[in-house]
């Protein structure tokens, strides 16, 4: 395996090594999507989506409104069944092993408001128990400490600002130490300081807890600051996927990520 692939002239040996490398790559892919399609009667929300996200990545899933980003997340989090195709999360099939998939993921939908009559602690305790956490109290305080959000646990959720609710949302999503965190438009509706705090939390979760993050967003500025890899979805199809670094190198002439996004979008239309 340490041999340089280019130095191998025997085609069979070369093919075997390439296969092994492919397998290794697949083992690293914690999200592996193959030919995923979702139709609602005549409307195709997702069209033969193929996508791999490797362990430890912060994957920014970009697309205009209605491109199929939320449908993808809903399918990958086992909320929705695909019409065709399959997907594996941490090696588990989303159809046949949905419970195993759910044990390994955390999810924060867009604009989640929680149970407003209950306190933050009661809300977190409810989701902790549903996640099968044995000692919710210890875990809740541990996570709140990590998110620097202690002191608000006995406040009713109805009294929380949007940014505070998002932090509780992150807390509920990471309490059970998931391998992958799915975030659907996490910065939607937040003020600049809320966006900054949330960005720090996402980066820390990835660096310190090694959580793979799959983030749906249409905010390119957020992608530029947070993500390691980007994918662009248009009309249910993946039209582009590469690392942020490569993307910026490929499109040197474009001054901003917005320009790159428009450039890729225009190319796909052609």
């Amino acid at each position: 395996m340490n041999k340089n692939i280019n130095s191998i002239t025997n085609l069979k040996e070369r093919s075997q090594i390439l296969n092994l490398q492919d397998k290794k790559k697949l083992e690293e892919a914690v999200i592996d999507v193959n030919g995923l399609t979702k139709r609602y009667k005549d409307f195709v929300a997702l069209d033969n989506l193929n996508l791999q996200v490797n362990k430890g990545e912060i994957f920014g899933f970009l697309g205009h409104n209605g491109a199929g980003k939320t449908t993808t997340v809903n399918i990958l989090t086992t909320l929705l069944s695909p019409t065709e195709g399959s997907a594996r999360i941490c090696g588990f099939d989303i159809g046949g092993n949905s419970i195993d998939v759910r044990k390994r993921i955390g999810y924060l939908p867009e604009n989640v408001k929680f149970y407003e009559n209950l306190t933050a602690y009661e809300n977190l305790s409810f989701f902790a128990k549903l996640s099968g956490i044995q000692n919710p109290k210890v875990k809740i305080f541990e996570v709140l400490d990590y998110l620097e959000f202690r002191g608000f646990e006995n406040k009713k959720m109805g009294e929380f600002s949007k940014g505070m609710k998002q932090r509780i949302g992150i807390a509920q999503a990471i309490m059970h130490e998931p391998e992958i965190l799915f975030l659907d438009e996490p910065t939607s509706g937040l003020d600049p300081s809320g966006v900054k705090k949330l960005r720090e939390v996402i980066l820390n979760l990835n660096r310190e807890k090694h959580i793979t993050i799959f983030m749906n967003t249409h905010l390119l500025s957020e992608v530029a600051r947070t993500c390691s890899t980007i994918g662009i979805l248009s009309h249910g199809s993946l039209i582009y996927k590469d690392s942020l670094e490569n993307t910026l190198n490929k499109f040197k002439d474009e001054t901003t990520l917005e320009d790159i996004f428009l450039n890729i979008g225009n190319r796909s239309k052609k």
Binding site: T78, S81, P109, Y115, E122, F127, L130, G132
Partner: protein, 340 residues
């Protein structure tokens, strides 16, 4: 992948908290903190008190009428014509309570069913629950269990309130049979309210617009609870005069049966109209158990169930069908949870 599995197993042991009980507890806690629920409970208790007070005044009126008649008869020297004094049956005082439960109980069921889904839909918490390692059937089981406890709490508080009024203020003691009949009435009231809970939660799940779902729920309530029983009552010739048409005309039971036999098709239609409403079945069952209908007063449970078994079967069937539909609706994974 073993590394991932081990990491998860470190945190999630096999004997993890039961999701059904967790959801049930949350449903209960959330509802008792809901102002609308508390308002409905207080409203029901106030109506219960009013209904018993009105019934007791009615009974006092009957006693006063009896005393007056007795005095007149004595003055006329016709002491032999004296009828037996009106008997006090404490459970008969609950007629108004049953009538209120028919209306407010159904509303309570609709409100609880609507809230139990609408709050999840509007706040997107159903997506969060469904993204946890929980079976879809556990969600419905948890909701049904939580609201069962809630409805029993409401009925328990109401019945305790009734018991305290009847025994504490009224000074009447309930026999063990009467207590059992009261408890059975609680069970049938639960079935009745739970039917509306399930119906309303199914509609709230199925219909995308919450407002539309609520409007349809109340339209069904209007039809089942008010219109159909009213049509049935209006079609009943015996209901047209207070005390009963046949009794006021001094027509005996055999003669009444003979007359009604000539209106067989009409009676079948009237019965079918009444039987299509769960409210009528609940009313018939409760009135029989509480002895509100004179022909069941003082009768044992065997007699009552032999005569009214169809109503209990209908009530249970209504509930079981809605529960089955509710499970199938939430288990439908093709439902687009983007709507939630």
């Amino acid at each position: 992948m073993n590394e991932i599995a081990n990491a998860v197993n470190r945190n999630i042991k096999n004997n993890s908290p039961n999701p059904v009980l967790t959801i049930a507890k949350k449903e209960y806690t959330d509802a008792v903190k809901n102002k609308l629920f508390i308002t409905l409970l207080i409203f029901l208790l106030v109506l219960t008190l009013v209904s018993i007070v009105v019934s007791s005044f009615g009974f006092q009126g009957k006693i006063a009428d009896y005393q007056n008649s007795l005095k007149i008869l004595k003055d006329l020297g016709k002491i032999t014509d004296v009828k037996t004094p009106p008997q006090f049956y404490p459970l008969q005082m609950l007629k108004g309570v049953v009538n209120y439960l028919e209306i407010i109980g159904a509303i309570l069921g609709i409100v609880l069913g609507y809230l139990s889904i609408a709050k999840e839909k509007g706040k997107r918490t159903l997506q969060l629950i469904l993204s946890r390692p929980v079976k879809r059937s556990d969600i419905i089981s948890g909701k049904i269990l939580g609201n069962t406890l809630l409805i029993f709490s409401v009925l328990g508080i109401t019945m305790l309130f009734i018991y305290l009024i009847i025994t504490g203020i009224g000074g009447a003691l309930l026999t063990s049979t009467e207590i059992i009949k009261l408890l059975l009435t609680i069970i049938f009231s639960y079935i009745y309210i739970m039917f509306f809970f399930c119906l309303s939660s199914i509609l709230t799940l199925k219909i995308s617009s919450l407002t539309q779902a609520l409007v349809i729920c109340f339209t069904i309530w209007l039809v089942f609870v008010l219109i159909i029983p009213q049509i049935g009552d209006t079609m009943d010739p015996d209901n047209q005069i207070p005390g009963g048409f046949f009794q006021s005309m001094n027509i005996s039971k055999p003669q009444e049966k003979e007359i009604m036999a000539k209106f067989h098709t009409y009676e079948t239609t009237r019965n079918a109209v009444e039987e299509s409403s769960i409210t009528k079945h609940y009313e018939r069952m409760s009135f029989a158990l509480l002895g509100i209908k004179d022909n069941y007063n003082g009768k044992n449970l065997g007699y009552i169930f032999k005569d009214r078994w169809r109503d209990s079967v209908w009530l249970l069937s209504f509930l079981i069908i809605t529960i089955i539909i509710e499970y199938s609706v939430l288990s439908n994974k093709n439902k687009n949870f983007k709507e939630f």
